[in-house]
Amino acid sequence: MSAQKRRTFKIEAFKHRVEIDPKYAERTWKVLEHAIHEIYNHNASGLSFEELYRNAYNMVLHKYGEKLYSGLVTTMTGHLKEIAKSIEDAQGSLFLEELDRKWGEHNKALQMIRDIMMYMDRTFVPSSGRTPVHDLGLNLWRDNIIHSSKIQSRLLDTLLDLIHRERKGEVINRGLMRNITKMLMDLGPVYQEDFEKPFLEVSASFYSGESQQLIECCDCGEYLRKAEKRLSEETERVSHYLDSASEVKITSVVEGEMIANHMQRLVHMENSGLVNMLVDDKYEDLARMYSLFRRVTDGLSTIRDVMTAHLRETGRQLVSDPEKLKDPVDFVQHLLDEKDKYDMIISKSFNNDKTFQNALNSSFEYFINLNNRSPEFISLYVDDKLRKGLKGVTEEDVEVVLDKVMMLFRYLQEKDVFEKYYKQHLAKRLLSGKTVSDDVERSMIVKLKTECGYQFTSKLEGMFTDMKTSVDTLQGFYASQHAEIGDGPTLAVQVLTTGSWPTQPSPPCNLPPEIIGICEKFRTYYLGTHTGRRLTWQTNMGTADIKATFGKGQKHELNVSTYQMCILMLFNSAERLSYKEIEQATEIPASDLKRCLQSIACVKGKNVLRKEPMSKDIAEDDAFYFNDKFTSKFIKVKIGTVAAQKESEPEKQETRQRVEEDRKPQIEAAIVRIMKSRRVLDHNTIVTEVTSQLQSRFLPNPVVIKKRIESLIEREFLERDKADRKLYRYLA
């Protein structure tokens, strides 16, 4: 077989343009037009999708896309105008229902039309820049229905009216509402422009009116409850039938009208406002106020400011009320209770908000320091808690209380004053053996050390060391004495290192001969083992236990101060003694002597001595007798006056003076430190720096700082700058 040459077949295109018959285009369009009519008339079942699609396809293919598109627009518009009429004619509540139904139908129709026109949608539409069929359908709906003059305002009014009625408590058809708003959302900006904007305006005036009404007739708590309810209603409304983006807008309208516009009036409402809620611990109301006000600008700061002002005022009253200041322990307890109260409020109602905590702290700091006896009183409170004999108080309880006291301590501006008093009170507790436990004492010192540094507490710790050492010393003393003591009085000695204990001037008094012997023996023993030291008896700080036998033979054991012992022992050798004789014999200073005599001669149940005349005060020509007729139901009678008490006015002045004296060197040291490192500084900067360096202990007075500077100039540590008299220079 020979290979045949293959001949390629060629199909040539027509050499002339093949035009579709225009009449054909018109006929094709008519088919489609008819189909659209049928679709709108709910007769789509008889149509053939394939045929219609093909017709549309052909028209586009043969360049009749324009005719197809514009025909579509015209036809749809025509139908929509009819639909508009039927909606307009609907009466009453049927209006929305009709609108909803027609919308549903339109969407179905649009779907089918789009499917039929899909080829045009994909080719002619993009290339000619026309709106795609689906969007076209929506736009035509919008223009012919929603924006039709007879429908537009009626639609809005109907919707707003329904919402208003629902707000008034009526039940409305939420499903229908949902469909309508969803329709508006589908139409692009129509929802925002045509509905949401007026909705917000109308809501604003609704809530403005309602809030005006409510504020006249409700108390604060009620009002807030109603506002909260309205807010949650609106949120719920949005979730049911509005665009979720509307939520924040409508809630901000409600917040503005109901809360922001009435904040001041609510907060200051008489008998029910913020202050009343605070005073009465209305946690729920306060929490509600917090959560509502937090939504608006300056809401929380409004609450905070009113709370602060109230706190400061009540605090100021508390610290200046002489009634409340009578008992220091009571006073501090009030402070602690107040702090507890507000801590609770902030935790339960204010979400532990830090800014509120700060406001609380700054208020406390403000009023605690208004009274310059606060440091003394707080120390007395601690003293009270640390004394033995508080019934039913466990160590754990005391710890909890001490931690709270530390919070108050932190507010003090004059911490050095507290230190002075704490030392005094601690000394008394230790020396009289009246502390609840050594461990608790030490734990308090640790707390102070953590707060203020080691220097604050080093002396306090020295006091404990002395107590311990004294026990050992005493043991050693008795071991060395053996039989030599016999029936004599028993001595208990605490040896105090001068630097650690509060300095007290100790005028000596004449000890009774019964005591002197053993005191001297102790002195000899001690100096024997500690050469180079000097011992001074602090007769104003000691105590004694004396056994006394009275007229009918009744025996009592009296616990008295050393001074009182000296006085009483005199009556072993005299029946009657005048004030002057007692003064001469004992050499106790007059004011102390009078106080002692008062406590053993003028107090019922403790009058071991009898005084003539029987007046309450001690006069220079009074006479004293041993009171044979003394009775007491206790065998052991405590008469000593050694417990810590709040200072008398002159004592207070003295302490304050000492504190001021102590501050001078601290201020000078700070000035020198600062100038040494900065070399040249102006006056105001020095004052600022010194204040900031010392503020953990006390707040230095700028006038005192100035005087210290001048003193340092005098002593040639500093000089004024020659050119600028406001500058100071460090002199090496």
Binding site: D682, H683, N684, V703, K706, K707, E710, I713, E714, R720, R725, K726, Y728
Partner: protein
């Protein structure tokens, strides 16, 4: 205010302190200081000198430090008689601050309010 004291006057003024005080003392006894001031301010006139001396006798009654002495001249030199340019934050010695208070409290000078 008439004129500004000369540099010479200032030297003499400051020297006067050293010369008038007791040997070994740091400060100048008040009586002596007052006498010196009256002398010196006769030379260069300062109209508040009498009030100053009165104030010291009433309220201070102690010796005068060197710094106070020298700063007083600065005060007399720069601060006008209405005290309108006196600045509380001006790092003046505290005695001078107290003097200003004394003058205003007793109505001797009416400080203009700003």
């Amino acid at each position: 205010m008439a004129s500004v004291p000369s540099e010479k006057f200032r030297e003499i003024y400051n020297f006067a302190f050293v010369w008038a005080k007791e040997k070994g003392q740091k400060s100048l006894a008040l009586e002596t200081a007052i006498g010196m001031w009256q002398l010196l301010f006769a030379e260069w006139h300062w109209s508040l000198v009498d009030h100053w001396c009165q104030f010291l006798q009433l309220k201070h009654n102690k010796a005068i430090s060197r710094d106070t002495w020298s700063q007083l001249l600065e005060f007399a030199k720069t601060i006008d008689l209405q005290l309108s340019n006196y600045d509380e934050e001006g790092a003046w010695p505290y005695l001078i601050d107290e003097f200003v208070e004394y003058l205003t409290e007793n109505g001797i000078v009416q400080r203009p309010r700003n």
